[in-house]
């Protein structure tokens, strides 16, 4: 029998329905793979007992012929999602004993559809990072290596565990969250597919909040079809999140293989940033050519406020984080550092419980919201955000169906290589992804090629609000042309 962990989610679904193997065998194969891949540090908690129990229940359903859409398919869950009776930490020391008594809506939707939980995946602390190096549980090591080298590389972040686990066949798919690029950037750096759907498509209820007006959940998968299958289950209206929209969830899988003839694809000149690696530029042009060959029309467009997206993000996101993370006070849950008086207890708890990047962002957020600075920073950033969204609205009003951009300005870098002196160096990783969060649009990253050093590179497609279907159709065309990329196993 072929290795069950190397199947796509769609192939595994087919195999289970044909009874070629059982859900229990499929889960077991993944549990073994996870154990053998602990050097990657992708999982911060393995849940083998839960996986086996869920797989047995799935086998019963499969036998009796009432299989649900994801029956028996083993998935990993980013540690930002609250999972009932299973430790959920956001990879922060301040929550490292937290065991929720409730389940996030997105993960509940996956279990409702029959999926099997393998464990909780590593991420940057509170999803603040672009390399998965800020996790309290230590960095994730990418399954990818440069040609002929064994330097440990980052998988990207913040959903680094999700990306690495999918790339290394440690699950068939995984959940992620994306506030400034945290699904698309690690997907690109590990050669997998990741989509951040339109803001409001998935419920944020039960996801540890970072920046509420930017956070959105989405899937990681090894191909576009699998991502479409997972998003259909994850999405949907939830009265517990007032920003989650009440509109039907299409069968995204139907979009796979649909013609893209006549689609108008925008290429924004502002994304041709100074100092962009020539191989990134070449890949971008190649991707556009592939779409053109499939019948799409390429149109140069302008998004004039693009260069202000990252600065606006680094005001809005820390401001919202400083408010959201005020709840970690050592009183109701999480870590408490002892002190004789209550303010000192708060201050010691938060100094001990938060890592340096989180402390830094809370402090910047506190500053930009403080009396006398609110108008100059936060209010201005929210106005710039309106302009960034307006740029996209004007482009879509010209008839553009989607835009194509690189996902990242470079391939994966080494552990400890970036951001140690100046935090801004790390932030520049999200230069192509962050506009999408600010405007609330859907964006998908699809693997499109390898760098000269043999590392995966991705292309991003940005769509109209709630038109993820067009993104799946376009991404599938790129995937067909580029082929798949998987790391050589060294672990």
């Amino acid at each position: 029998m072929t290795d069950l962990t190397s199947l796509t989610l769609a192939e595994a679904r087919e195999g289970l329905r044909k009874r070629a193997f059982s859900a229990f065998e499929l889960a077991e194969a993944h549990l073994v793979a996870m154990e053998q891949a602990r050097a990657l540090n992708a999982y911060v908690l393995e849940t083998p007992e839960q996986a086996r129990a869920m797989a047995r229940a799935a086998d019963a359903r499969l036998r009796s012929g009432d299989a649900r859409p994801l029956e028996g398919l083993p998935l990993g869950i980013k540690d930002m999602f609250a999972t009932r009776h299973v430790r959920t930490t956001a990879c922060s020391h301040i929550l490292d004993n937290f065991v929720p008594t409730y389940e996030s809506t997105v993960s509940a939707n996956l279990w409702r559809d029959g999926a099997v939980m393998l464990g909780k995946l590593n991420n940057d602390e509170f999803a603040m990072g672009s390399s998965n190096e800020t996790s309290f549980f230590g960095p994730v090591i990418s399954p990818w290596r440069r040609k002929g080298a064994n330097t440990p590389l980052v998988p990207g972040g913040s959903s680094g565990g999700s990306a690495a686990a999918v790339a290394a066949n440690l699950c068939l798919g995984a959940t992620g969250t994306d506030t400034g690029g945290s699904i698309r950037q690690p997907a690109a750096l590990t050669g997998v597919v990741g989509i951040k759907p339109t803001y409001g498509r998935c419920s944020r209820w039960g996801i540890v909040a970072y920046a509420s007006s930017l956070d959105q959940a989405g899937p990681f998968a090894r191909d576009v079809r699998d991502a479409a299958i997972l998003l259909r289950s994850m999405a949907g209206h939830d009265p517990k999140d007032t920003t989650c929209v009440d509109r039907p969830v299409p069968d995204f899988e139907v979009a796979i293989g649909q013609s893209i003839k006549g689609k108008k694809i925008g290429i924004a000149k502002e994304y041709r940033v100074a100092g962009m690696a020539s191989e990134i530029d070449a890949l971008w042009q190649q991707g556009a050519e592939w779409l053109k060959s499939a019948g799409a029309e390429l149109i140069e467009v302008s998004l004039p406020h693009t260069k202000y997206a990252l600065p606006a993000y680094y005001i809005v996101a820390p401001a919202e984080a400083s408010s959201n993370l005020a709840r970690y006070d050592g009183v109701r849950y999480g870590l408490r550092a002892p002190a004789r008086e209550i303010t000192a207890m708060y201050e010691n708890t938060r100094a001990e419980g938060f890592g340096p990047e989180v402390r830094r962002r809370i402090m910047i957020g506190t500053y930009v919201l403080s009396a006398g600075y609110y108008d100059a920073y936060y209010l201005r950033a929210q106005k710039v955000r309106t302009l960034i969204r307006r740029d996209f609205e004007q482009v879509f009003a010209q008839g553009i169906d989607a835009l194509i951009t690189p996902t990242t300005p470079s391939a994966a870098f080494g552990i400890d290589e970036k951001g140690s002196g100046d935090p801004v160096e790390m932030y520049l990783n999200d230069v192509f992804t962050v506009t999408v969060n600010l405007a609330g649009l859907p964006g998908i990253s699809v693997p499109a090629g390898l760098s000269a050093e043999g590392l995966p590179l991705g292309l991003q497609l940005i769509g109209r609000p709630f038109d993820e279907e067009t993104l799946f159709a376009l991404a599938h065309v790129i995937e067909q042309a580029a082929g798949g990329f998987s790391p050589e196993r060294w672990w």
């Binding site: 004993n97 937290f98 065991v99 008594t101 409730y102 803001y199 007006s213 930017l214 009265p239 007032t242 920003t243 929209v245 260069k307 202000y308 990252l310 600065p311 606006a312 680094y314 005001i315 400083s322 005020a326 006070d329 009183v331 109701r332 849950y333 999480g334 408490r336 002190a339 004789r340 008086e341 209550i342 303010t343 000192a344 207890m345 201050e347 010691n348 938060r350 100094a351 402390r359 830094r360 809370i362 402090m363 910047i364 506190t366 500053y367 403080s370 100059a376 920073y377 209010l379 201005r380 929210q382 106005k383 710039v384 955000r385 309106t386 302009l387 935090p423 801004v424 932030y427 609000p465």
Partner: protein, 95 residues
């Protein structure tokens, strides 16, 4: 705009994060690097631009003002670092 050591201490206190003297200098540099980075926003003309308040243009959803959850005190205090009879226990607040 930039921050000095005194401002760093004031922000840290507002954020309820204890900082040591040794950390202040380091934080001052990092926060100023971030502030220098966001400084470019000052050059954008935002005259007559409304700040974004809703990401997806939609009417605010409302629900009936009814109790839909509750009666789970055990669950609520389950993760508390210190608890007595369904109460959270904290250090003395009032002298």
């Amino acid at each position: 705009m930039s921050v000095d050591a005194e401002t760093v201490r004031r922000i840290a206190h507002l954020a309820r994060i204890a900082v040591s003297d040794a950390e202040v200098e380091h934080l001052e540099g990092e926060l100023n690097a971030m502030l220098a980075f966001v400084e470019q926003l000052a050059e954008v003309d935002v005259t007559n631009v409304e700040p974004m308040t809703s990401v997806t243009p939609m009417e605010m959803k409302k629900r009936a003002d009814a109790v839909t959850d509750g009666g789970i005190p055990d669950d609520i205090v389950k993760n508390a670092p210190a608890m007595e009879d369904h109460f959270f226990v904290v250090p003395k607040v009032v002298e």
